[in-house]
């Protein structure tokens, strides 16, 4: 659409003040609410070309962003990719539609434990298409440490004053709880949450910035602001490597959280056909190896992964070893406790 017709239409609609002013959307325009890297041109562009569906993406910095964006009003997004701990509210609220798995060619190839996981199944219906998984590891700049950090205690090291970053997410509570020795991080009591809150308060002199996007963390490392932070394992370290900055990821002694993202179809999307074409692409080689090479995440379809990955990559991403995921503290739906966690985290930021 040319700017001229757009402006003409716009001015006319402005005169009418209300009514459907925005220029009509072309059929098959997918709007994703997702994580950075999940709409990378390397695999999205071929998809657009092949299907005629155009894709645009809005990025979230935290799982807590999905529900509010959907709650603010319909008609905006077509597909979302929350982690499995944050799917339940979307399903109960009716923000997402059940998936017709018969329209997905390679559904059966996905890890069974993902397909049947609690996060995407509700009342006998499937609501999500597992896509990728990984860990919330920590990473550090090796040249800033004489002895590499192994434990979360490093976050409190007085030598690291103003050199630490932390994800702006309730995950910070999980981290602090583990530092306090409360390992049942998804079932913390009020006292344990309060203790975690206190730990985070003590840590604050070490924290330079709470990062709220992958890119922000990359920048904090690249511009030498921080040397230690939690990270979406695989992703930021790769981006930093691209800039020639060396960082080392590690799973702390206190363990790390694990996560699994799945694609969900927003209720009432006018672009259902395109959405299913996208889902099919996502769990095929294109999508799976796409996200694996862009984000460095492990993927949900081992069959496709084996097809398109080198054996080294396949192994490095633990694709042959889904039990690895069990060793992590896989994110759980907090249910009614969610409010207590987010409130505690907000209180830390407000202190």
């Amino acid at each position: 659409m040319t700017i001229k017709t757009r402006l003409a239409g716009g001015v006319a609609s402005a005169a009418l003040a209300l009514g459907a002013a925005a220029p009509a959307m072309a059929e098959g325009e997918l709007n994703l609410l997702t994580w950075e890297g999940y709409a990378d041109p390397s695999f999205i562009a071929p998809f657009e070309e092949a299907t005629g569906c155009t894709v645009s993406a809005t990025y979230v910095g935290s799982n807590d962003d999905f529900a509010p964006r959907l709650a603010a009003g319909g008609g905006v997004f077509d597909l979302v990719s929350p982690s499995s701990d944050s799917t339940a509210p979307l399903i109960t609220a009716g923000f997402v539609d059940p998936i017709d798995t018969s329209r997905l060619d390679r559904w059966d190839e996905l890890y069974e434990r993902f397909r049947t996981s609690e996060g995407i199944n509700s009342d006998g219906q499937v609501y999500g298409v597992p896509y990728a998984w990984g860990a919330i590891a920590f990473m550090y700049k090796p040249d800033a440490f004489e002895t590499p950090p192994r434990s979360l205690d490093a976050l409190m090291d007085p030598a690291l004053e103003g050199k630490v970053a932390l994800w702006d997410d309730k995950s910070a509570i999980y981290v602090a709880a583990r530092m306090n020795g409360d390992m049942d991080i998804y079932n913390l009591s009020d006292e344990q949450i309060a203790a975690a809150q206190e730990t985070l308060g003590e840590m604050r002199s070490n924290v330079r910035k709470y990062w709220s996007s992958a890119g922000e963390l990359v920048d904090l490392f690249a511009s030498g602001e921080v040397v230690l932070s939690n990270t979406w394992a695989g992703y930021q370290s790769a981006l930093l490597a691209e800039q020639g900055i060396e960082v080392v990821e590690f799973i702390p002694e206190e363990n790390a959280e694990g996560w699994m993202d799945s694609w969900m179809v927003v209720s009432g999307t006018p672009n259902e056909d395109c959405a299913y074409q996208f889902l099919n692409m996502a769990i095929s080689e294109a999508g799976q190896c796409g996200v694996a090479s862009v984000n460095g995440y492990s993927v949900a379809n081992p069959v496709a992964a084996r097809e398109c990955m080198t054996p080294e990559q396949f192994e490095a991403l633990h694709q042959d070893d889904p039990a690895y995921l069990d060793s992590l503290l896989l994110w759980e739906n907090l249910g009614p406790r969610l409010g207590a966690y987010t409130n505690a985290w907000n209180a830390v930021k407000s202190q």
Partner: protein, 284 residues
């Protein structure tokens, strides 16, 4: 709350010939230094923005590594950014049109009519000037949510028009107050209908205020974030795009966008100064 109102109207016209400073060279130098420092504070960041848009390296540190136009080239091929820029243009144009269509009659009503509830009406219209954009943004969000309206560029336009209405109203109202009522009465007396009077007599005489506030409202809308933040749907405006890019890391590409915006703003500023200089006969 006199701030915006004065903005365009102030073309400094201080009486000629203040007496020459009685202080010596020392005081003059001190003044000069202080003013230069303030100007440096104001313009160094902008200079940095422009300078580093030509920096060949990614890193934003001194000295710049070399000269390149790469970032501009990248910009030219960044479809999302261009789309966002067009969206902003669309939003700013529509919301400016709306603020004028609503704001000029509002100013007329405030100046020329008396009606019940006028005091409240005046307060409401002027409120968004001083109110943080976030309040306008969320209050309209709650309204649209209750109405079940989907967020889109239309809701953004309505939001901008509401937030910026006050800019037009204050400026046009200030001008109307200086416009003798007898012009309009004379026009009516000479047989002109209300509309004829408005278009032939009133509008030409408040033209500069209308254009000035329109320009200002356009610029502010083009640059708006807090309201857009809450009211936009799937489409991004340019500031929202820059904002989300910024949140995802520093890139010299943003400096290039910035440099272009600085250039466009400079053109607008010069234009507005030239356009709005009152021509002789502009005032009776």
């Amino acid at each position: 709350m006199t701030v915006v109102q004065e903005q365009v109207d102030i073309v400094p016209v201080r009486a000629k010939g203040r007496r020459r400073s009685r202080n010596g060279l020392g005081a003059r130098l001190a003044w000069g230094g202080a003013i230069a420092a303030i100007l440096a504070f104001l313009y160094l960041p902008i200079a940095v923005l422009v300078l580093f848009s030509f920096n060949s390296g990614r890193l934003l540190s001194w000295p710049i590594q070399g000269f390149t136009l790469d970032w501009y080239r990248k910009l030219a091929s960044n479809e999302q950014l261009i789309e966002a820029a067009w969206n902003s243009l669309y939003v700013a144009t529509c919301s400016t049109a709306l603020t004028l269509i609503i704001g000029v009659p509002a100013a007329l009503a405030l100046d020329r009519l008396s009606f019940p509830g006028k005091g409240l009406f005046r307060k409401l219209v002027l409120l968004p000037i001083a109110l943080p954009g976030i309040i306008t943004g969320i209050s309209m969000l709650t309204l649209f949510r209750l109405m079940g309206a989907n967020l889109s560029l239309t809701t953004v336009i309505i939001g901008h028009a509401t937030a910026l209405l006050a800019v037009v109203v204050t400026q046009v109202y200030a001008r109307l107050q200086r416009l003798p009522r007898s012009y309009e009465e004379a026009s009516a007396d000479l047989g002109a209908s209300g509309l004829q009077t408005f278009f032939f007599v009133t509008l030409p005489n408040i033209r500069t205020a209308v254009i000035g506030s329109g320009l200002l409202s356009f610029t502010l809308s083009f640059d708006e974030i807090p309201v857009t933040f809450f009211l936009t749907g799937r489409d991004n405006t340019l500031p929202m795009y820059i904002w989300s890019t910024m949140r995802r890391g520093l890139t010299p590409e943003i400096n290039a966008v910035g440099a272009l915006i600085v250039l466009a703003s400079a053109v607008l500023v010069v234009l507005s100064v030239l356009l709005l200089r009152d021509k002789p006969g502009g005032r009776a």
